[in-house]
């Protein structure tokens, strides 16, 4: 758990780590994916973003990853205006974000150790430190004994833990999770959510895009509900709003 202490010490109470100001995103065809979205997320918050398909959740994640730029409006992450980040500096920006996807997105031909170590290699952490950090983070996600396994030899839950270890090893202040339990059974889903809660308690801001009604209702966290590209509700300790 030593890995997360540094983030905790950096924590500034009530600091807005993510700010979206009147953000619109329109694609070449079809209705706008986001229309006038305003959202503020404080450092250390745990936020669920829920909504049906086509509600704009994925576009929001892509905007935060700086994969897309908004058609209008401003997005600030960690005080940086994303529109002002040059393309060559995007990789550096992304290192502030840990990302976990529904389909895990592990490098299939590399073992668990190499998948997790990859995130450190790209920021040129010395090999000696990588060999120390990877087992530590793997023990945090409960996979210390499986560092040699290839992704195909692991269960869905285990693969998602590897993806989380990879997302967390560089101690990002923000963890973006796009449907992290989408491919998991209820037991594994709960274990992943508990792990996310633990990580959040150590100071990491967590944003989880999900469809999982049970988890959202049970965990009693902030819930932002989106529909057709706008935020229809934003509640502290909220629940999953049914489609009308």
């Amino acid at each position: 758990m030593a890995l997360f202490r540094q983030v905790k010490s950096k924590k500034i109470p009530n600091e807005n780590i993510i700010v979206l100001e009147n953000v619109c995103k329109a694609y070449a065809t079809g209705a706008p994916a986001l229309s006038g979205v305003n959202l503020t997320i404080k450092q250390g918050e745990f936020v669920f973003i829920v909504g049906d398909s086509g509600s704009g959740k994925s576009t929001l994640i892509k905007l935060l990853l700086r994969e897309l730029l908004p058609t209008s409006g401003e997005i600030y992450v960690n005080g940086q205006n994303l529109q002002h980040i040059k393309r060559r500096n995007v990789p550096k920006y992304r290192r502030n974000l840990g990302v976990v996807f529904q389909d895990f997105r592990l490098l299939k031909d590399r073992n668990v150790f190499d998948n997790v170590a990859f995130a450190q290699r790209i920021i040129q952490v010395p090999g000696r430190e990588i060999r120390k950090n990877v087992p530590t983070i793997l023990s945090v996600v409960g996979l210390a004994g499986k560092y040699k396994a290839k992704p195909r030899q692991l269960s869905g839950g285990e693969q998602q833990r590897v993806a989380m270890a990879r997302a967390l090893i560089n101690r990002p202040p923000i963890l973006l999770c796009d449907e992290p339990t989408g491919n998991l059974d209820p037991k594994n889903s709960w274990e992943i959510m508990k792990l996310l809660e633990q990580i959040n308690q150590k100071g990491t801001t967590i944003i989880v895009v999900t469809h999982n009604r049970e988890i959202v209702n049970e965990m009693q966290k902030r819930v932002v509900t989106m529909k057709k590209g706008i935020i229809v509700s934003d509640e502290e300790k909220g629940g999953y709003i049914d489609e009308d």
């Binding site: 990853l65 994969e67 393309r87 060559r88 990789p91 550096k92 920006y93 992304r94 290192r95 974000l97 990302v99 997105r105 592990l106 490098l107 031909d109 990859f118 995130a119 290699r121 790209i122 920021i123 040129q124 010395p126 090999g127 990879r166 560089n170």
Partner: protein, 299 residues
């Protein structure tokens, strides 16, 4: 950049080759096939060119002079001829030398003793070898314009045939290189397309984690260079081994042809082919991998 990062990138480049064995094999095979065809073509063209050049060197124009022209004037004319660009080499054959050559060739020592005077008295001549057979026409016009020149002997058919051969070599070379290039581009772009599908997801993951373009691209480029290098060394090795076997085979089976054909040694062919094939193979590998990855870096 850290040394350890450099080693990591190189290690990944090599590991990529083994991770995608079939793709690597397909790429090596494609590059090898293209370069083998190219190599065979270069070897054939170089030999063909050599045969034509050898024939060209034997093409000459002979100039005979009018009666009673002085030896000094003949030498003066010879100096003027030698200065011309069409001329590679000029040989003076005096009347005495001409008779001597004729006598030895046709009669032999004993039969020619009956001649007291030189029957070829007016046959002092220059044997002029051309720098380029296509220039024969202009040289002949010049020679015929000299008043003291009685006769100019030339071989119009040989010169025009050889000139035609030269032009043919150029056209055939351009044609075959264009066809080979088109085939290579088609085959290699297909292989690269398969490569894109294999790599798309991997490149996306790397980019989402925050890898720089350089970090993502470098192992692929190293992989491409190695594949290109191997893809060029294999056909070069094969050509080296096959060349002497084929030349020997032609010499044995087609004795009629081989009597007037002179094949270049394999070392001479490889002086051109080795750097050319290596540069092409490595170049194709480098560019192919750069293009493959580049398309997917904008994530």
């Amino acid at each position: 950049m850290r040394i350890s990062t450099l080693f990591y990138i190189m290690k990944q480049g090599i590991a990529n080759i083994f991770r995608n064995k079939w793709f690597s094999l397909a790429s090596v095979a494609t590059i090898s096939a293209c370069l083998l065809l190219f190599g065979i073509f270069v070897a054939v063209i170089m030999n063909f060119n050599n045969i034509v050049r050898t024939a060209e060197q034997g093409v000459s124009v002979t100039v005979f002079f009018a009666d009673n022209i002085s030896e000094a004037r003949i030498l003066e004319i010879g100096e003027d001829i030698e200065k011309r660009v069409e001329v590679a080499k000029i040989e003076y054959i005096s009347a005495e030398q001409a008779w001597e050559d004729f006598r030895m060739e046709y009669f032999g020592e004993e039969y020619s003793d009956g001649f007291t005077e030189n029957p070829l008295e007016n046959s002092s001549n220059y044997e002029i070898y051309l720098s380029d057979v296509s220039l024969q026409g202009s040289l002949v016009s010049y020679l015929e314009s000299i008043p003291e020149v009685r006769q100019v002997n030339r071989s119009e058919i040989t010169a025009s045939t050889l000139s035609g051969m030269n032009a043919l070599i150029v056209y055939v070379s351009i044609g075959i290189i264009a066809i080979l290039f088109a085939v290579s581009v088609f085959l290699i772009s297909n292989t690269v397309m398969i490569g894109i599908q294999v790599r798309k997801e991997e490149i996306n993951i790397m980019k989402y984690i925050g890898a720089t373009d350089f970090f993502v691209r470098s192992p692929f480029v190293i992989e491409g260079i190695i594949i290109g290098g191997v893809g060029s060394v294999l056909p070069l090795g094969l050509l080296y081994l096959m060349y002497n076997i084929v030349v020997e085979f032609i010499a044995q089976k087609f004795t009629v042809i081989s009597s007037f054909l002179s094949f270049l040694p394999v070392t001479e062919i490889f002086q051109l082919l080795l750097p050319l094939c290596l540069a092409m193979g490595i170049g194709i590998g480098f560019l192919g991998s750069m293009i493959t990855v580049r398309k997917h870096l904008r994530v």
